[in-house]
């Protein structure tokens, strides 16, 4: 197993650009981080989760579904083309990898979403973990939910490959040194010993909702604070709701899908005027209930993986962890 410096990792990522559309965490001018191409900014592996919805690399904010002439009889509908080079995406935390594994299952279930998998199939997901979180905290090791993982020991990164595709790429690394025997196992022990307070909190909140112990008044109080900015949905790696719309471009009609938010009044409104989510308290409840109760019934587990993004961006402090904390304090 290789142990590389940041510079050696950067060279490894860049050398893959001939075969992959490489995205890595980069430092922006304002001090924040985002995913970008290697030449768009300095590599910024440390710092924890990138602030944006990381699954947007596979489920972008806007995605073209098809193109056609307005007169459908004259030409066949052209479906959106599959992307060129497969994606190689660095920067998933362990929680992000959990999110991606879930939305893979979501988009595969019942009807396989071929538009999503046109970008997802053949891609390589690289997690970043170890002693490189914000403020130097330890990031949980993702393990086999990613193809490759780079695990910081505080100085360099141990490179672990879990999938055949990942091993094929990592085996080609000439740079660096071999990791010491037992080094990864020691880091794994450190990862396993990380506190699980947030997980216990969200599980407790889930149990309260499933047991119907959270009254309407709670959702009304939370919704009174919501300003419907939709930031929670826009950064959530497991939010997959989308709107579909047509537009004219270059003399053709294009059909696109675009992220939608369950926090907006019009999310479920029908042409008849019937609106099953016409009250803000219902929409607020839906955002939390969907992850902590409805998905437990449907998928067998909570589908918030505690990435922390909604809590980071919410201007009125009603991200999912904050709401769960209030819920457990009041009704737990």
């Amino acid at each position: 197993m290789k142990r590389l410096t940041v510079q050696e990792l950067e060279a490894f990522f860049k050398c893959l650009e001939s075969d992959y559309d490489v995205r890595v965490p980069i430092a922006l001018h304002d001090g924040t981080r985002s995913l970008g191409k290697p030449d768009e900014g300095p590599l910024a592996l440390a710092g924890g989760a990138v602030p944006t919805k990381i699954t947007s690399v596979f489920f972008p904010q806007m995605q073209k579904l098809l193109t056609a002439d307005a007169d459908m009889a004259s030409t066949p509908v052209e479906m959106a083309a599959a992307r060129g080079k497969p994606l190689f995406v660095v920067g998933f935390t362990a929680q992000d990898a959990d999110c991606l594994e879930f939305i893979d299952r979501f988009f595969d279930a019942n009807y396989r979403d071929d538009i999503y998998f046109a970008g997802r199939d053949g891609s390589i997901v690289v997690s970043v973990s170890g002693r490189c979180g914000a403020d130097g905290n330890f990031l949980r090791i993702a393990g086999e939910k990613c193809d490759i993982e780079v695990i910081s020991d505080g100085d360099k990164f141990i490179v672990a490959a879990y999938s055949d595709a990942g091993r094929g790429l990592v085996d080609g690394i000439d740079a660096g040194e071999d990791a010491a025997d037992g080094a990864l196992e020691a880091l794994q022990k450190e990862s396993d010993a990380l506190p699980t307070d947030d997980l216990e909190l969200i599980q407790a909140a889930s149990r309260l909702i499933l047991a119907d112990k959270v009254p309407e008044k709670f959702w009304e109080d939370v919704s009174d604070r919501c300003i419907a900015c939709t930031s929670c949905n826009l950064v959530c790696p497991t939010c997959t709701c989308f709107e579909v719309f047509d537009r004219e471009a270059n003399g053709k009609i294009e059909r696109w899908r675009m992220w939608d938010s369950c926090q907006l009044d019009g999310f479920m409104r029908e042409a008849s005027g019937h609106n099953p989510m016409g009250e803000e308290a219902i929409r607020t409840r839906r955002r939390i209930h969907h992850r902590l109760a409805a998905d437990v019934t449907r998928w067998g587990h909570v589908t918030c993986y505690l990435c922390g993004r909604c809590d980071d961006v919410c201007p009125v402090n009603i991200g999912i962890k904050s709401v769960c904390r209030e819920m457990v304090e009041q009704y737990g």
Binding site: M72, D113, S123, K145
Partner: protein
Amino acid sequence: MSTAAASKADDRGLVLYRPFMCRVESVRDLTPSEKLFRFVRVDGQPFGHKPGQFMQVSLLGIGEAPISVSSSPTRGDYLEMGVRNAGTLTNAMHELKPGDTVGLRGPFGTFFDTEGMKGRNLLLISGGCGLAPMRAMIQYVEDCRGDFADVTILYGAKSPDDVLYKDELALWQSSDKFDCRLTVDAVPGGACWDTNVGVITKLIPPLAIAPDKTTAIIVGPPIMYRFVIIELHKKGISDENIVVSLERYMKCGVGKCGHCTIEHLYCCIDGPVFTLDQVAGLRGAI
């Protein structure tokens, strides 16, 4: 983890959101705000639909919307939809003429379990536009009448002018295949109406119902379900023998867009046809 190894790539390319082309064969006025469209596939293939299912209708440049199928597959390789002019897409649909082309995807969703209902009495209750999907079921029952025992049709509309499929309702009323009863909420002055006046729930108490041998199907506006279900419970019909069709604005039809969720259910793939015991107690369902 890479999904490449697990990929179930379809050699037809990206197809999930691709509509297939259909030709408008005929357009018929039902009421001043409702029309009946008949479509055939340009490729001549059958639609493969079952009563209770819906299609995603595309008018490129306008958009796509879910619309219930109003005709039974027993009637041939065409598909009909009774459409109220209520939104952007249906407004544009009302401009369609025979020979025009539209795109369809589907059929989607669950359907009325006609196999499971064989030998049973049927109580088919619809209100307003709910007769559109119910018509597919009524046609199916009419064509396979020997499969079912007693069949009662109840239909309610706001006023005589709002009654859909008037010609067919008249035939069903005069047919010995059905006991068909109609009502309207109110009769405006000057309107001609010689049968029941009042909400549809008033049609239920006089019926002689064998609850264990009866399946009731309800399709109508959201407010109707709650009160009809109360009357059906009074008759002793249990939730597993009450079938409801719940309409939501499905944007994708394939369980992805999230607009039609009812708690853990997706109306487009788990529904729109449910037995009441599947959705009873789910917030926002009824």
